[in-house]
Structures are given as structure tokens and as C-alpha cells.
């Protein structure tokens, strides 16, 4: 029985390989945990190989990494068409429609996915500097992923999406009202339907993971949340400092913090590149939020 479990993807793995064949993380390094409990997800090494089904995926490059698939005849992956970098002409490309076409179009999400079927080679790149994150999913396992971070998935991984339910409204009167979605309007939910599958994400910057105990909570920048177990609950947390000093008259609200509050149990991952929420106006209304006034 294989007793080695990769400390990054949490799957039984092979310690004799230089990198985990399921997620590409190096096997021969010690786990480095920060004082607060974060583990840096080590970048997948240049030319590291992943295995799934009868196929392989090789990650090349480290600045804007490319996922290069050697697909066996019985295997399929799907992806958004704008991540396709190159393909062998014999690889069969087709369309995979998604439900909720109108809402997805309005939210700027890909409407139609492209399926690539073996035999043949396909290479994908997200076109931004960052890391490729490989998440092997066990049968039945679900993962919530921030919108626009999906790179590709194997054919047996089901792709659903749902509203994040995290929003706030600004504006003085009805016609100036604007709704902000600091975590994005929608989140992607991936499920390994009938057998284990592989999910690849693109993370801008570096990636850090942490396990939350039941009831343990954590505040993160909403746009920095890359993925989390579906068991993790998320809601808004608004924090106002007590002493504004000479800025008490200022109409700017840039001193406040808009957080995503994560509550365990489950695994969470954050990316080091994020976009702070807009903070120029007073919040008139919001989704459920805890408030701290210091």
C-alpha cells in the first residue's frame, strides 16, 4: 500500500518521483509553514509531468507557464477558446455549451467551451504572468474556484457556476446606485463526477494554502481568494477604524477595509496578486456582513 500522501494535493502519490505525478508539486522539499499557518504552494517546476487517465500533461515555462497535453484517444479536456496556444492538426476540437448563456455573457464569462479529444497534443496558456495550479479531484470531490481562474479540466469534471452572494451597493440616490461584487459576481464549482479528475487553474502571482478548522475564521482580500473547499462559508466583513484623525470630514472611504470572511472547516488558497475593492463611497446596502467599528 502506498503510504505517501502529497502535502499539497492531499492525494496518495509516489515519493520516488521528483514531482508529484498528480499535481506537479516537488516531492523533495520540506513543507514551509509561516507563523500564521500558510503554506506556499511551490510553483510547478519547468517540464514537470502530470498524469491523468492514459494521458500526460507537461508544464513548461515559469513566467507564463504553458500546460502541454499529450492526449490518449479515450481522454478529453475542455477549456475556454482564448487559452488555446497551439494544437496538432489531428487533435479533434469541438464545442461544449454551458447553461445560463445570457447571465454568463453579461458577467463576461466564457459562454462556450472548447473540447479537445485525443489522440494528439494541445497546449494551453492563460496569457498572464503567474502559476499553473493542478488540483486532482477525487471521486465526488467539489471545489469552489474564483471566476476567470479556470484553465482546463478533464472531461469527467463537471463544471457548474453559481452567484457568489457577496456584494455591496453604493450611491447617494436611486439613479446613482451601483452594485459591486468584490469576489466576482459568479464562482465556478467543479465536481469530479464519476471518477477522479484533474482541474488546472491559473493563479496570478504566488499561491498560498491553509486548512481552517471547524469554526475557525479568517479575513482575506475578496479578490485574492483563488479556490476553497465547498465546506468553507464566505461572507462580507466591513471594518472601520475608530480614529480618523484630521480626515474626519473627508468624503473618501479609503480607510475602511472590505474583507471576505472565511469560516472553516476546509482548505482555502489565496493568490498574491489581487485588486482591492473600490472604496470611494459609503456602503448603502450589502449582502450579509459582519461589521467591526474600532
Amino acid at each position: 500500500m502506498n503510504a505517501y500522501v502529497c502535502r499539497y494535493c492531499r492525494q496518495p502519490s509516489n515519493p520516488s518521483d521528483p514531482t508529484c505525478p498528480l499535481c506537479g508539486a516537488p516531492v523533495d522539499i520540506r513543507s514551509e509553514v509561516s507563523d500564521s499557518g500558510w503554506i506556499e504552494q511551490p510553483p510547478i517546476r519547468d517540464m514537470a509531468r502530470l498524469e491523468f487517465g492514459q494521458s500526460r500533461c507537461q508544464i513548461t515555462g515559469t513566467t507564463v507557464p504553458v500546460a502541454e497535453f499529450a492526449l490518449a484517444p479515450e481522454d478529453m479536456i475542455y477549456f475556454s477558446h482564448h487559452t488555446l496556444l497551439w494544437a496538432d492538426p489531428q487533435t479533434r476540437l469541438g464545442n461544449k455549451p454551458l447553461r445560463g448563456a445570457w447571465n454568463r455573457t453579461m458577467a463576461g464569462l466564457p459562454l462556450i467551451m472548447v473540447e479537445g479529444r485525443g489522440p494528439g497534443h494541445i497546449a494551453l496558456s492563460d496569457n498572464h504572468a503567474g502559476e499553473v495550479i493542478a488540483l486532482p479531484l477525487q471521486h465526488g470531490q467539489q471545489m469552489w474556484v474564483h471566476e476567470h481562474r479556470f484553465l482546463c479540466a478533464t472531461g469527467n469534471v463537471r463544471y457548474d457556476w453559481d452567484s457568489t452572494g457577496i456584494w455591496y451597493e453604493t450611491g447617494q440616490d436611486q439613479k446613482d446606485r451601483e452594485i459591486h461584487y468584490p469576489m466576482g459576481q459568479f464562482g465556478d464549482i467543479f465536481t469530479a463526477a464519476d471518477r477522479p479528475g484533474l482541474l488546472l487553474l491559473h493563479s496570478p502571482g504566488n499561491t498560498f494554502i491553509r486548512d481552517l478548522r471547524p469554526g475557525e475564521s479568517l479575513l482575506v482580500q475578496p479578490s485574492a481568494l483563488l479556490y476553497c473547499d465547498v465546506s468553507v462559508q464566505v461572507h462580507l466583513h466591513l471594518e472601520y477604524p475608530r480614529n480618523m484623525g484630521f480626515l474626519f470630514w473627508s468624503p473618501r472611504w479609503s480607510y475602511r477595509n472590505i474583507w471576505a470572511r472565511l469560516i472553516g472547516p476546509g482548505r482555502v488558497a489565496v493568490q498574491s496578486v489581487y485588486q482591492p475593492p473600490e472604496d470611494m463611497e459609503i456602503i448603502q446596502n450589502s449582502s450579509y456582513a459582519t461589521i467591526q467599528r474600532w
Binding site: V64, L85, W86, P89, L93, N95, I112, N127, A129
Partner: protein, 220 residues
């Protein structure tokens, strides 16, 4: 830091995210470049300009009309101001290389510089590679060509007749023996959009691809 020599001069490549090429030019050597890639230079290193053929057409196509030349002796440094890799291509006598527009960082003076107009309406409208490609040719002397690729750069050598489909914005360089043409894939990419164009490269020769590319459709 990597150092290599060409003619009687040396070149050092520094940095990993946005790399810089620092050239120490000997008195008999010169390099040419687009003027906005110049990062710093010794005060004493003389600069001049080289007029390129096809002036008005190049200007209309968004290509530099005048290319600058730095002569030795002196030190000059170049950077393309974008995350990526420098591709060092030593060219032997008698070689011809086609390069995506605005990807060339510098070339030694022994290399001839011209341009090729991308042929075919489909290539022009859907190719995503622009209107022109830079063409670099060595006659009887070897030379050194430096390119900047966005993201990481991969190279593949195609056998005669072998084909590969490439996202047009990902094309970086190719041997002039490689044929390029836009082909439409039978795929839908949105509610109202039909078809997706890829660049079909046919060997023999090398093809260079960059992993952070200009996405043609996304810019529309």
C-alpha cells in the same frame, strides 16, 4: 547573468522577469534597434539612424520608420519593458528568419533588415500577427539577433510537410522556409461569433511561440 560573444563584442543578459541585454561594443561593431527599447548607454557611445525600406507603408502598418544604430566603443543596454524572455538567435551566413512585428530587440550590423508583408486577406484580417513581419537575412557574415518574447518562449522544429496550429498572437518567429496561413476552425466562440482562426504553420523549419500573447479577438 549569462554572457556571450559576437564578433569582437560581448553581450550580458541580466534579470529574469523583464530581462535586460547589456552590450559592450568594440570599435568595429554596431547594433541596430527600435529607439524605444534603449534602456541606458555610455555617454560616449555614438548613435545614428538607419532608414528602412518601404517608409510610408511601414509607418501606416505601425512599424518603426527609422531604426537606430549604436556604434562602438561603448556600452549600451536594451529592454522591451514587458515580462518575458530574451531569445538569442545566432544567425549563420545564408539564413533567413521572419519575426513578429515589435518583437525584435536588437541585431548586429552584419544582419540585413527588411520586412515581409503578410500575404492573403485571411491572414491579414484574422491572423493577429499584424500587416508585416520583420525579415532578418545574413549574407556572408554571421550575426546575432535578440528577440523579446512575452511570457515563456518555446521552439519546435517541423519536418518537411509537418503542420502545427498556433494561436496567431502566440507566433514569435519562424524560419522563412516555414509557410504560414490562417485557417478557420469549425468552432463557435460566443453567442454571435462563429469560427476561430488559427495560424497553420507548415515545415520544414523552426517555429518560435510565446506563451503570453496578443489575443486578436479579445482586442476587438
Amino acid at each position: 547573468m549569462t554572457e556571450f560573444r559576437f564578433s569582437a563584442s560581448t553581450c550580458q543578459v541580466e534579470g529574469e522577469l523583464v530581462p535586460v541585454a547589456e552590450i559592450s561594443l568594440s570599435p568595429q561593431d554596431a547594433v541596430y534597434f527600435e529607439h524605444h527599447v534603449l534602456l541606458w548607454k555610455d555617454e560616449s557611445a555614438p548613435l545614428s539612424s538607419m532608414k528602412t525600406p518601404g517608409g510610408m507603408k511601414r509607418t501606416l502598418g505601425g512599424m518603426p520608420h527609422i531604426v537606430s544604430i549604436a556604434n562602438g566603443p561603448g556600452r549600451v543596454a536594451f529592454s522591451r519593458d514587458a515580462p518575458g524572455e530574451l531569445v538569442v538567435l545566432p544567425l549563420h551566413p545564408g539564413m533567413e528568419l521572419d519575426v513578429r512585428e515589435h518583437a525584435f530587440l536588437l541585431a548586429s550590423h552584419s544582419i540585413e533588415y527588411s520586412y515581409v508583408r503578410i500575404k492573403g486577406l485571411a491572414n491579414l484580417l484574422h491572423g493577429g500577427s499584424g500587416m508585416f513581419m520583420d525579415r532578418f537575412v545574413t549574407a556572408q557574415y554571421p550575426g546575432l539577433l535578440l528577440l523579446h518574447g512575452n511570457g515563456n518562449v518555446l521552439e519546435r522544429t517541423l519536418r518537411p510537410g509537418e503542420k502545427i496550429l498556433v494561436e496567431p498572437g502566440g507566433f514569435l518567429y519562424k524560419d522563412s522556409t516555414v509557410q504560414m496561413q490562417a485557417v478557420q476552425m469549425p468552432l463557435r466562440t460566443g453567442l454571435m461569433r462563429h469560427g476561430m482562426y488559427l495560424a497553420e504553420m507548415t515545415g520544414p523549419g523552426r517555429v518560435g511561440i510565446q506563451s503570453m500573447y496578443v489575443h486578436h479577438a479579445a482586442e476587438e
